[in-house]
């Protein structure tokens, strides 16, 4: 057969070292037998291995602490949770609610973009400082280019109440004293003394803690994709348990419509 497309070699031919299911027999993940070699892992240890190929109870426990303390709040006002709650009030399904919430969590003012961006920022910062650049100039360059630094500043309230409990947890398991978390606090000091007065938010803390454990920004991003679900699900469950449509209804008169007042012409 002559070669027509780059895809031709993949036709009926997916080759992977990631693993797979051998029906009636076994499941392999990154070369290990799930039933015999991975079956004693906790869920978070398994997820860490899935995403990164690393086996580390400490990193898994650190991640677990982040999911519990930082990212799964049962508040339906938070925008990704609100989507889940809305799905409850409209009587959609739990899976659709979770899927929608996970998708919306890939946001800019919270969620996955700051998570990925903050990790990337710290790695770039660390590398540039090693090359001799000053912290101040690097932050100023970041602000000039992007007008923000992921991990600093927060909508609704500047202070982040999660930082203290998260750092306490990190220190209790032997984390929290690495190069990047110290750098994160140095960056905060710069912001506090600047006109912006931004405080560090939890994305910076978590990014720095995980950078100190050698996780890449993509590792953290993938691990964090499901991190908000334990907050989204109770919002769905709660809204589903209350009357249909009852979640923050808004009467028409409260909508500030500023569009055209022209009457719509219906076509026959």
């Amino acid at each position: 057969m002559s070669h027509h497309s780059n895809l031709e070699k993949y036709e009926d031919n997916w080759q992977t070292s990631m693993g797979g299911w051998f029906p009636g027999e076994k499941v392999l993940l990154r070369g290990k037998n799930v039933f015999t070699e991975l079956n004693q892992k906790s869920w978070m240890e398994y997820l860490l291995f899935t995403v990164t190929g690393r086996e580390s109870s400490k990193i898994a426990r650190l991640m677990e602490g982040m999911w519990v303390i930082c990212t799964s709040f049962p508040d339906p006002r938070i925008w990704n949770n609100r989507v889940s709650a809305l799905a409850g009030t409209t009587r959609s399904t739990g899976a659709l609610a979770a899927a929608a919430s996970v998708a919306v969590t890939e946001a800019t003012i919270y969620g996955l973009k700051p998570i990925k961006g903050a990790t990337d920022f710290f790695y770039r910062l660390g590398s540039s400082i090693e090359d001799g650049q000053s912290l101040e100039s690097l932050i100023e360059d970041e602000l000039k280019l992007h007008r923000s630094v992921f991990g600093y500043g927060r909508p609704l309230i500047n202070e982040d109440e999660r930082i203290t409990p998260m750092m306490d947890f990190a220190k209790s398991i032997g984390c929290g004293d690495g190069r990047y978390i110290k750098l994160a606090y140095e960056v905060e000091d710069w912001f506090i003394q600047s006109r912006l007065k931004y405080r560090m938010n939890i994305a910076a803390v978590c990014a720095a803690l995980l950078a100190d454990e050698g996780l890449t920004s993509s590792d953290f991003y993938h691990m964090a994709t499901l991190a908000f679900t334990a907050g989204a699900m109770p919002c769905f469950i709660d809204a589903e348990s209350q009357p249909e449509g009852a979640l923050f209804p808004l009467r028409v008169s409260r909508i500030n419509f500023v569009g055209s007042q022209q009457t719509r012409e219906w076509r026959s």
């Binding site: 925008w79 989507v83 809305l86 009587r91 929608a100 969590t105 946001a107 800019t108 003012i109 969620g111």
Partner: protein, 176 residues
């Protein structure tokens, strides 16, 4: 809109629209059930009244919750909103199809039995039935048709931002 104000990805706004718009309240699942009612009742008013008062039992447990109100009617409404009446009237005028016309003629009687006004989902259900769609086809199409409106709302809120978007700070209370 929640996706827009938070700077979420644009596809996520449509994913959220589909997930939220898929349900039993004003969503595609409600439209699906409307079509089932039409299949069962057609233009027989007594069958409609009977089915509304004695809805079918769900049977085996499903991921979809059972309907809590007659499909096509608004359990929280007081009277049929003007846009719903206008839409029904316009579709009857331009389409002159048999089941939309029947719905228009018997709307008040049906609303009395359903204890709630006709909703957009009810108008959509009748229109899809006249277009000879099967329930599952109507469910799919209803989801697709709400995407453009959702898209422009998301794009608008992306520009407007979270500061002008209701957060209901004072409207939230955690009880014991």
């Amino acid at each position: 809109m929640n996706a827009g104000v938070g700077g979420s990805t644009r596809p996520s706004a449509l994913i959220a629209t589909i997930s939220v718009g898929a349900g039993n309240l004003g969503g595609s699942r409600e439209v699906y059930h409307c079509l089932e009612y039409w299949q069962h009742c057609a233009k027989d008013l007594s069958k409609w009244c009977d089915l509304i008062v004695n809805p079918p039992a769900q049977g085996r447990l499903d991921v979809w919750a059972p309907m809590e109100h007659p499909p096509g009617f608004d359990p929280n409404g007081i009277s049929c909103p003007t846009p719903v009446v206008q839409t029904l009237d316009h579709l009857v005028e331009v389409g002159d199809t048999e089941h939309l016309r029947w719905l228009q003629q018997h709307r008040l009687e049906l609303e009395a039995v359903a204890s709630g006004p006709l909703a957009f989902s009810g108008v959509a259900g009748a229109a899809f039935y006249d277009l000879e769609l099967l329930p599952e086809q109507a469910e799919m199409l209803f989801l697709l048709l709400r995407l453009p409106g959702a898209a422009v709302h998301a794009l608008e809120q992306e520009q407007t931002g979270w500061r002008k978007y209701p957060f209901f700070s004072k409207g939230f209370k955690v009880t014991e």
